[in-house]
């Protein structure tokens, strides 16, 4: 699996009492280390009003982090696209693409939190329509000089993107999707499906078939790059890995469950409130270097996923532990996967 790309997801939501200036400096340190160790990408997610956790905003964060990690691709993974206006997103991402020398990845998904829909003056009911028309408008703004298009919540009248992206025809468009209809949409509208971190491995294997059939229907080939997010933690042994990451990872999934993430997940795999051991068995890559490498290889073989976006820090996890696992992944797991 010589061409596997590994990415670092700095989702890192932090507990309310944390000093965020310290946390910011730590994230910059993580990015510098990932850049040095040959990671391919850095990913930041998007949420607003994320209490009880603290979190940085995606656009300023990724714009800043590129100065520390000039070799990493910058994955906006994901943008809650139905909340936004296409002119804003098209121009902002084009600016980042220019500033970074063509390293932007545009991840897009629908969103699901009521507090966000309300604050952006929209509703859950409108999300699919807005998502689709926004995506069409953004692609047109990136690839056409002057655009005229009337959407349900915007109008482009002789509009243009003030800056065009460096990547041609445009940065890769990864579409996040949990449920089957969303996966079909990803096949139809995206450059690839961006596999989420929540679903069980067996669900993803089943859904990859849904994705392939939808690609066939759209007359599109299987994408060269197939990215997937997973929770990953590596230590000298499986027991040690579980012992070290459990207090933090378990808390994160409890928060997802409380936010209602599992309500938009496919039936039969929509309970994130279950026991930690079960979550680990089916969804996370946690273990010794040998075990994690094997899990990644098996996952690649079953799904074709060849860009693994790894979350390696959860609320409350100390920096030293994060740096250790980032390093051990690069030094002991990457070579095993690439040889395997």
């Amino acid at each position: 699996m010589a061409d596997m790309q590994f990415g670092l997801m700095t989702r890192a939501q932090f507990p309310a009492e944390d000093d965020m200036q310290v946390r910011f400096r730590e994230l910059m340190e993580q990015a510098r280390l990932a850049d040095k160790l040959g990671y391919a990408s850095i990913t930041n997610g998007m949420h607003y009003s994320s209490a009880p956790f603290q979190d940085f905003q995606q656009l300023p964060f990724l714009s800043r982090v590129m100065a520390e990690a000039p070799n990493l691709r910058l994955n906006f993974g994901i943008i809650l696209l139905s909340l936004h206006k296409p002119l804003d997103i098209a121009e902002s991402l084009a600016t980042v693409d220019v500033m970074s020398g063509g390293r932007v990845i545009f991840g897009a998904a629908l969103g699901y939190r009521e507090v966000e829909f309300l604050a952006f003056g929209t509703t859950a009911k409108e999300k699919v329509k807005r998502f689709e028309e926004n995506l069409i408008a953004i692609k047109r703004l990136w690839t056409e000089d002057v655009v005229n298009m009337k959407g349900s919540h915007f109008e482009l009248k002789d509009a243009s993107a003030a800056t065009k992206p460096i990547q041609k025809p445009h940065p890769p468009i990864w579409i996040g999707a949990n449920a089957d209809p969303a996966i079909k949409r990803a096949a139809r509208m995206g450059d690839c499906w961006y596999v989420n971190p929540h679903n069980r491995t067996d669900t993803i294997i089943r859904q990859t078939e849904v994705y392939k059939r939808a690609l066939d229907e759209a007359g599109k080939p299987f994408p060269k790059e197939f990215p997937g997010r997973r929770e990953v933690f590596v230590a000298s042994s499986r027991e040690e890995a579980v012992r070290l990451c459990k207090p933090f990872l378990a808390k994160k999934y409890k928060a997802y469950h409380e936010w209602g993430q599992d309500k938009v997940m496919p039936e039969g795999d929509n309970d994130l409130g279950q026991d930690f051991d079960e979550l680990v068995r089916d969804r996370f890559f946690v273990g010794s270097p040998d075990e994690v490498a094997q899990q990644i290889l098996d996952f690649n073989k079953a799904t074709g996923i060849n860009h693994l976006i790894m979350s390696m820090q959860w609320p409350g996890m100390p920096q030293s532990l994060v740096l250790d696992t980032i390093t051990m992944m690069a030094e002991e797991v990457f070579p095993r996967v690439r040889k395997g």
Partner: protein, 341 residues
């Protein structure tokens, strides 16, 4: 605080065909030089759909440039506030204030271009209302939470910003204003009026009285910081400065006129179509170091301005000339101005 602060507006507007990657590197070089020479602030404006000009977007640009100039205050001058949603703006600025260690300035104004209003799905006639309710929501999100508030185009349901601000109670709010009514609004709602680059000095002299009367009516003191943007260019002699900067300034004002900037300017001072000399008088600060210093002091004496945001690179001025004028300003103009205060 210094008696007079000096900042540069990196307008970052370039003609079609320019390689924006090269222009971006040049802007980073400008920022590093400003840091080295002891400038006080760096400003980036905001416009969308600027064809036939190319422009970089404000929030990603300011977030990136802060890595090059950690000592400079970063002025988002201005945010077209009516276009946006308050939770997004409040959150972005909180993250930027934190990343920059409390250096953000929040400039805001209404905007005036139809292509922007339409692109963001709003009507021009709702702009003032959106502006005012957005600002109220942002201040509430910045100063406490959770916030519950129903606006005309958003609803906050126990919403909160996700990181705290470094500056307390919040970053300074500078309010751009051209017309008299907008100047009154700036007195009422802002931490200060952010004097625009377009109006003549005599218009400001008239409007500063309106500003002061409105401050009095609100029971607010005159602000400690009164910032103003001007087109500035300095060369060893007057003739050389005009020869280099004149054509760029004139062509830029032709573009402003095409965009309809003059339609929202103050009555009696809303014609920007005249030839350069007339346009420049009491509006641009262009000349030798002595002339530029004197002119700056005049704005200070007559208006109380104590932070000058200089647009140096109009559209097309070559990098070498921008860097030279930065140096000349820092070495020969700034000391003269500080001494004259």
């Amino acid at each position: 605080m210094k008696k007079m602060q000096f900042g540069v507006m990196l307008r970052g507007v370039f003609p079609q065909g320019d390689d924006m990657r090269i222009r971006f590197e040049e802007l980073m070089e400008q920022a590093r030089l400003m840091e080295k020479l002891g400038y006080d602030s760096l400003t980036k404006g905001s416009h969308f759909s600027t064809y036939p000009m190319q422009e970089m977007v404000q929030i990603p640009f300011l977030s990136r440039v802060m890595a090059e100039c950690p000592s400079l205050r970063l002025n988002a001058g201005i945010v077209l506030l009516a276009l946006h949603k308050p939770l997004e703006v409040a959150e972005n600025f909180a993250t930027m204030d934190l990343m920059s260690n409390g250096k953000m300035i929040f400039g805001c104004a209404l905007g005036y271009r139809d292509v922007e209003f339409k692109g963001f799905g709003i009507e021009r006639k709702g702009a003032v209302r959106r502006f005012e309710e957005n600002l109220e929501a942002i201040k509430r999100l910045w100063t406490g939470g959770p916030v519950t508030m129903k606006g005309s185009h958003f609803e906050l349901d126990e919403a909160r910003i996700s990181v705290p601000l470094v500056q307390q109670p919040h970053p300074p709010i500078w309010m751009g204003a051209n017309a008299d009514k907008a100047v009154e609004r700036a007195a009422r709602l802002g931490d200060c009026w952010y004097l625009n680059p377009h109006q003549r000095l005599d218009t400001f002299q008239r409007q500063i009285e309106i500003y002061k009367r409105t401050l009095d009516a609100c029971g607010k003191p005159f602000p400690k910081e009164l910032p103003m943007r001007r087109e500035v260019f300095c060369a060893p002699t007057h003739e050389e400065a005009v020869r280099i900067a004149g054509p760029f300034l004139k062509s830029m004002y032709e573009a402003y006129e095409e965009w309809g900037q003059d339609k929202v300017m103050a009555e009696g001072d809303n014609d920007i179509s005249m030839r350069y000399e007339e346009l420049a008088k009491d509006r641009f600060i262009v000349g030798s170091p002595d002339e530029v210093a004197e002119e700056m002091l005049r704005y200070h004496k007559l208006l109380g301005v104590n932070h000058i945001i200089m647009s140096v690179q109009g559209t097309g001025l070559p990098q070498s000339q921008v860097l030279e004028t930065f140096e000349l300003m820092a070495k020969e103009v700034f000391p003269k101005v500080q001494q004259g205060m």
